[in-house]
Symmetry: C2
Subunit: 328 residues, 2 copies
């Protein structure tokens, strides 16, 4: 059986390293082809190896106690905190001789971006960006890029996001010419903020891209495009507003079920919880680098870690991160 080696940073998650280590333990049980390098507090990892009965023949541990936290400056964090788990994880995954398929971390987004650029950049010196693969209303998937790696963007960055997103969706889902949309405040070509208005003609002029024009906010996940391009601030809103609205509606149905004493409504809740649990579906994906780097959400639980392990393995096998089947 082929081996798939991944690096997992156990620090930087809101739920503490315990949830990440538990996730790694579950992933090792579920995927016999998986090999894990855990980076984090040695004593805790040792304790959990015993507690969860982790198969140590498929485990390597790199001790690290320090965390790059959310309030750390991203660039300084990666450059100066050389003992931090995230820095050590990047150094490890970058080792050619180890032949890792990728890494997973729930750490500081800015530091992930900086680390990706520092340790995993391509020869073209592309600035990495962060993407998310989201289920859309047309029963397919839309790649949202950027989701928050670069908050204030330039036109050439958005152009680069479009190319990276297009490449990814071709590779993952076999889409020959992925449709690229530009997030805007209306569908007409005249709509957009200053950045969008400047970006529109650049995307339209690139004959290697299948640019389908502006996409209005209410259609961002309608399936009208395969790649939705926007700056990291707007992308963050799309990602988190979708999550927040879904959570709000699920809560509404729970209340309704109680108020009307209709336990059957809870079946709808169960269905939506699965379908809209974007946390469990995995996290952000760094594009434009030599290895697959996946950022788990800060509040990721062990299920998210298992899901990301599956994404890493699937990607290494040349297939989709996840498919419709994973949503059922």
């Amino acid at each position: 059986m082929e081996q798939y080696k991944v690096v997992i940073d156990t620090l930087g998650s809101d739920k503490g390293p315990e949830a990440i280590i538990l996730g790694a333990a579950l992933a090792l049980k579920q995927f016999p082809e998986l090999f894990v390098t855990l980076v984090g507090p040695q004593a805790l990892i040792d304790e959990k190896i015993l507690e969860h009965g982790i198969d140590v023949t498929r485990l390597k541990v790199i001790p690290a106690e320090e965390t790059i936290v959310n309030t750390d400056h991203a660039y300084e964090g990666i450059m100066t905190k050389t003992e931090a788990s995230l820095t050590k994880a990047f150094k490890e995954v970058a080792k050619d001789e180890e032949n890792y398929v990728g890494m997973m971390t729930a750490g500081n987004s800015g530091a992930i971006l900086m680390g990706s650029f520092r340790y995993l950049r391509t020869n073209s010196f592309t600035r990495p960006c962060m993407a998310a693969i989201m289920p859309n209303a047309a029963d397919g998937f839309t790649c949202l890029v950027d989701t928050g790696a670069t908050i204030d963007c330039t036109v050439s960055q958005l152009h680069s996001f479009a190319k990276l997103g297009s490449e990814l969706m071709s590779k993952l889902y076999g889409i020959e010419s992925p449709r690229i949309g530009l997030l805007s405040n209306g569908a007409e070509p005249t709509k957009g903020n200053a950045l969008g208005k400047e970006t529109f003609p650049v995307l339209a002029a690139d004959s290697t891209l299948n640019f389908v024009g502006n996409i209005e906010g209410n259609r961002s996940l309608s399936g009208d495009c395969d790649v939705l391009v926007c700056d990291g601030f707007a992308g963050n809103q799309v990602l988190k507003n979708t999550e927040g609205t879904a959570a709000k509606i699920i809560k509404d149905i729970v209340v309704l079920s109680k108020t009307r004493n209709e336990p059957k409504y809870m079946e709808v809740v169960d269905y939506l919880m699965k379908r809209y649990d974007l946390g469990a579906l995995g996290g952000g994906l760094v594009l434009g680098v030599r290895k697959l780097v996946i950022k788990a959400r800060g509040n990721s639980d062990e299920r998210a870690i298992v899901s990301i392990a599956r994404m890493l393995i699937n990607h290494a096998k040349g297939g989709a991160f996840y498919t419709k089947k994973d949503l059922k």
Copy 2:
């Protein structure tokens, strides 16, 4: 009985003037204290007066055939299309002697903003903005401002939005010191795009505002603040993403109901359709002007017009636009 006079622009809606006129007819039937001035095509209005049996003793008609369309330049539209229904509606509502409570239009947002400034500006020359009152997860309402009137904003504009939103929520819902949040990509004070980072200290320094800090996208409608401040591009995303996600989830439940052959699930659909039909709840609200101007959504149907007529009357009576009761 006190009279409440409103101006209704019948042109500029995606559904054509027929839906607006029908809405006006229904509103006149429902609210005996309402007086309507319809601005639009005389022949069509005459025909509909007969068809819907409109009470002409509470109706005035101002003929207008021309529309300021979405592709018109907002400023030029208002300045040069003097015969357009929107321009005529503004001229009418601005007449002090007529004592209107406000106006409603489904026209071009930019032109509404320009017309509001030209015909209804206050002595302080405040630049008007567009707000939406949205139901939040804490069973209250959040005022989102700006929702798309000013796509690229300055710090002083965001500061002005905060003050106008605060004033509105005090007046409408009797909130003594409305909590002001700044939409950001994280809750920490260090988060934000360039505009947000510059705006944060300005809002924090204004002792007349109850500034509660950055609000992350997944909590924009959680009820953590009474007024959510952002530029028009981001606000447009919040508004439309919420709508799009709700529509997507409702569609999911319809499909689930059919697939599992569970008609009971459709009761949940009916409930959500009401609660998240932001179209029917009314539209955008121009703040910072002498009269209440409400922009109906471009795809508003007759129910939206009735709802807006109610908002105008309620506001003139000194109360809330709509309350929890309207959501049931």
